[in-house]
């Protein structure tokens, strides 16, 4: 028999009952926030025969062999509820929100647990700037008032004399080396920008403030619209508190053809890196083709938001059973 967890006290929660009560109280405040604003709370499937294509996200897989099983019995666990929520929006749901568990392979550390709690919501008729305002209102409601600061992605790189939209891959790598960070072999241009951002910038973001970073490089648009211009920028934002990324939001891409092209590009990148080729979510593409209302949406890492509210330095301080005790 394969057993799990030999240590005799590993059955116990990793945190105190007081901490769990504090977490429950914060979750209540989140529910109150959305109830007051009249958004519809929804629940969507964790499992799907289709999966996210983003090369930097690794979907976990579940075996299902019963009636209605997909080919090979393979169901992918959501990395976020974005695709089914957009299908609800396209079906005319109006503003919606949900709190759910999401799953990401390979992600474990002081700020990561492969299973974590996500808060996600969508605002038809809004753009990402309006949604940034609402995110700061939520943060104030859950963590207390703090000043709000907004900077563009390009502004973050100005101290390093680097234009993240125009610089070549080699110029980006040289900037990383000047900062003392040798880019590992095989890192592409966006990877080097991620290196600089995560090593040299993020630790200082959101200290005592709610800090938004917006207008990302078009190559990092993910599911955001791209605002044409010189340079073109993605209508995407991230929110940081105390050196931690808390939220990622988009002025949502609604163009089915462009979405399909981005999926194809993701799959090419995945192939070049030897990563799995997950089935593309055709129902999302059909929903976009039928008409997604212009909207903005955002995903918040709720465990991290609670870490800030409770002054915790490690995600295990807000989870009853982190991975090693699960």
């Amino acid at each position: 028999m394969v057993s799990h967890g030999g240590d005799s006290d590993q059955w116990r929660p990793a945190v105190s009952l007081e901490r769990l009560k504090a977490r429950a109280a914060l979750l209540d405040r989140v529910r109150w926030f959305f109830r007051e604003r009249g958004l519809l709370e929804v629940e969507t499937p964790v499992l799907s025969a289709a999966a996210v294509t983003d090369p930097n996200l690794d979907s976990l897989v579940a075996d299902y062999r019963g009636p209605g099983a997909p080919p090979e019995g393979r169901l992918y666990m959501q990395t976020s509820p974005e695709f089914p929520m957009k299908r609800l929006l396209a079906a005319g749901s109006g503003p919606i929100w949900q709190v759910c568990h999401v799953f990401r392979g390979g992600e474990r550390g002081p700020r990561h647990n492969p299973e974590f709690t996500m808060l996600e919501w969508y605002r038809p008729g809004w753009d990402h700037h309006q949604l940034m305002d609402e995110v700061s209102e939520l943060v104030a409601f859950v963590c207390g008032e703090r000043p709000v600061r907004r900077r563009t992605y390009a502004e973050l790189f100005r101290p390093f004399a680097l234009d993240p939209h125009g610089a070549s891959a080699e110029e980006c790598a040289a900037a990383a080396r000047r900062l003392g960070f040798q880019p590992p072999d095989g890192l592409d241009r966006d990877g080097v920008l991620d290196l600089i951002l995560s090593h040299a910038v993020t630790p200082e973001l959101g200290r005592g403030v709610v800090e938004f970073v917006h207008e990302f490089p078009a190559s990092q648009a993910a599911l955001a619209r791209i605002c044409p211009g010189s340079p073109p920028v993605a209508e995407r934002f991230e929110c940081f508190l105390e050196g931690m990324e808390i939220a990622n939001g988009f002025h949502e891409l609604g163009d089915a053809e462009e979405q399909a092209a981005r999926f194809r590009h993701d799959l090419e990148v995945r192939a070049s890196r030897g990563l799995r080729q997950p089935p593309v979510d055709q129902r999302l593409l059909q929903a976009l083709a039928s008409g997604l209302p212009s909207c903005a949406g955002v995903a918040v890492g709720l465990d991290r938001l609670f870490m800030v509210a409770l002054g915790a330095g490690h995600i295990d301080e807000v989870l009853p059973f982190p991975l090693e005790r699960a």
Binding site: G106, P184, L197
Partner: protein, 189 residues
């Protein structure tokens, strides 16, 4: 040669970087939500002791360092090398000054030491946690003063100098904690 994935990184793991063996001191997983995941590690060069920071792409592999801790008996020093023997195989190994470092001053013939080998060559030598060494030089003892708490320097047979209580005399054998370099007790015959 074996490889380690970044998923296996933890402190103490021995890896090869730029041709040198290193031990991982700290390992941090860093990942932007929509971006590249990294393992940011602090590593110690096992030859020089120098500590540096390195960043890996998560999922990358790195060569394992063939580093092995062995329990060897110290035989003698010829001034340039310190000679050790495997008590089971009687095989002998010579370690240079860089491998000995501070450990040299605690080594007494026949003591069992932890010798860390890299590709069969000694990288470092750890003396036993406790050694028993004779006092060869110290100020005259204050007989009977076992309570004042004062201390004085004493030179031991290996050349090490430790602080000892005032009542200790030349010729006495002392138990010393080599990790702190502190006197523990007298050893009764």
């Amino acid at each position: 040669m074996a490889n380690y994935s970044t998923n296996e990184f933890k402190s103490g793991l021995k890896i090869m970087l730029d041709g040198d063996p290193y031990a991982i001191v700290e390992n941090e997983f860093v990942k932007p939500g929509k971006g590249q995941a990294f393992n940011r590690v602090r590593v110690r060069n096992l030859k020089t002791g120098k500590v540096i920071d390195r960043t890996f792409k998560s999922g990358d592999s790195v060569e394992a360092a063939d580093v092995l801790d062995t329990e060897l008996q110290y035989l003698y020093s010829d001034g340039e090398f310190w000679h050790f023997m495997d008590p089971q195989t009687f095989e002998q190994t010579a370690a240079g000054e860089s491998a000995l470092g501070d450990s040299a001053k605690w080594l007494k013939e026949q003591d069992i030491c932890t010798v860390t080998l890299w590709n069969g060559e000694p990288l470092s030598v750890e003396p036993p946690n406790f050694v028993e060494l004779k006092v060869v030089e110290t100020d005259p003892g204050l007989r009977g003063d076992t309570s004042s708490g004062g201390n004085k320097p004493a030179t031991l047979e290996t050349g090490a100098v430790v602080r000892v209580p005032l009542f200790i005399e030349i010729g006495e054998v002392l138990k010393i904690d080599t990790r702190s370099g502190e006197y523990v007790s007298r050893v009764k015959d």
